[in-house]
Amino acid sequence: MNFNQLPILKIFNYIGCALIFFGIAFFISINWAALNDSVKIFSTFGAAVTAYFVGMLLHLAKKEAVSSAFFMLSALVLPIGLYVVLDLYGQSADALKINVIVSAICLAVFLSSHLFLPRTIFVLFVVIFGSFFFIDFIDFTLDRGNILLRNVSEYEFLILGVSYILLGYYIALDKIYPLSGPLYFFGSIFILSSSYSLGGLYCQTSGISMWQIITALLIFCAFMLSVPLKSKSFLYVGAIFLTGYLIDMSTRFSQIFGHYGWPLMLVFAGFILMLIGYLIYYIHHKIN
């Protein structure tokens, strides 16, 4: 086994990266008032730029495992550094505009890095910063208009979820980057939680009734897709939402059967959990 591919090496690198990140964060947060502007910038933005170049040098020296840790450190600190720079020197204090600028710069940095040096870590951060840019851009744009759109964040996450699943499928076909699992996982969570929220949380009393039906269909689709996509994420996320959905629906028992409703609901929930357990077991076998 190549020294660079040792799992223990990766784990230690990422733990080291996390410790450096928290060290910088705590140093700055504790001493923020005492630090002058240049120290604030060098300790955040400067640290991000340095980590990026160290990562690049290590990558060129074929030390890929440790270079990933430095790229990750850079990606964690870069947004903070940019917020600090814009906080100190930005003329405008428009929060939404600053969010768009920060996420766009981070996206541009990691997208261009990926185009020159295709690596999984860059794809990961392109997806993360791309998602932030998408949300920030829409919030910024809608804030400039005077049309009130309700539930915008639910639709944003719904679209993100669809995009993640499409990207995950593309990556699964391509088989270069091992990111299809996380993309399916977050994609299914985003889609189901958004539709669940649009349908109305808490006993489905306040939402849009069409979305209550769509949520049930989407949960069914999550189970159906888990087999052809060979994704356990779809299966488990679908099972969690199915349990929640049915328990939510079963609270209607208390409205119909009065004080007998709650014991009936418990019995119903028990049977449902057993059925879902068997369903997961059956589909799990099909995936494997």
């Binding site: 969010n99 998408f134 995009s163």
Partner: protein, 170 residues
């Protein structure tokens, strides 16, 4: 080549929503304003004690001067706020909730990712005029008004019938 369609779709789907947001902002701009002015107060520091006096009846009869608050009348046609004293507010003409022409005042705050050492100048608890799917930002609370709390803004009520008289008051 066929698999690339999924990549293009993954990029295209968010782009469509972003384009829809741009189109809705650029092409569906409309200007509306209520016929009625309204009164509001901005508390320097929110306390339950002071909030209790911001009732139209108690405001005039028993206002506690130890409560630090600024009172304003918002001119709906000119989109401006005018500083007044508490006794200049026509408490007997105020109605709470929705205006007679169907407008409401809602919080439309802008929040900033909470980075724990940045100060709170990015936290705004703006107030918007809302009717149906129309929303217009009207009042942006300033930093010196301790804008980090949504409770510092207290809507007192819409001024019905005598808006001209109040607008022209000294």
């Amino acid at each position: 080549m066929k698999k690339n369609y999924f990549l293009y779709l993954a990029i295209l789907v968010p782009l469509v929503m972003m384009s829809a947001a741009i189109i809705s902002t650029l092409f569906f701009k409309k200007e509306q304003h209520s016929q009625y002015d309204f009164a509001y107060a901005v508390l320097k520091q929110y306390t339950k004690h002071c909030d209790r006096f911001l009732d139209p009846i108690l405001l005039v009869a028993q206002w506690d001067n130890t409560c630090e608050a600024s009172f304003y009348i918002y001119d709906s046609k000119r989109n401006t706020s005018r500083l007044v004293t508490h006794d200049q507010i026509p408490a007997h003409l105020l109605i709470s909730g929705v205006s007679p022409d169907g407008y409401n005042i809602e919080v439309c705050g802008v929040t900033f990712p909470e980075i724990f050492w940045l100060d709170d100048k990015y936290y705004h608890w703006n107030r918007c005029l809302v009717r149906g799917n129309f929303q217009k930002r009207m009042i942006k609370l300033q930093q010196d008004q301790v804008s980090s709390s949504p409770n510092n803004f207290v809507f007192l009520g819409w001024i019905v019938n005598a808006s001209q008289n109040v607008r022209n008051a000294p």
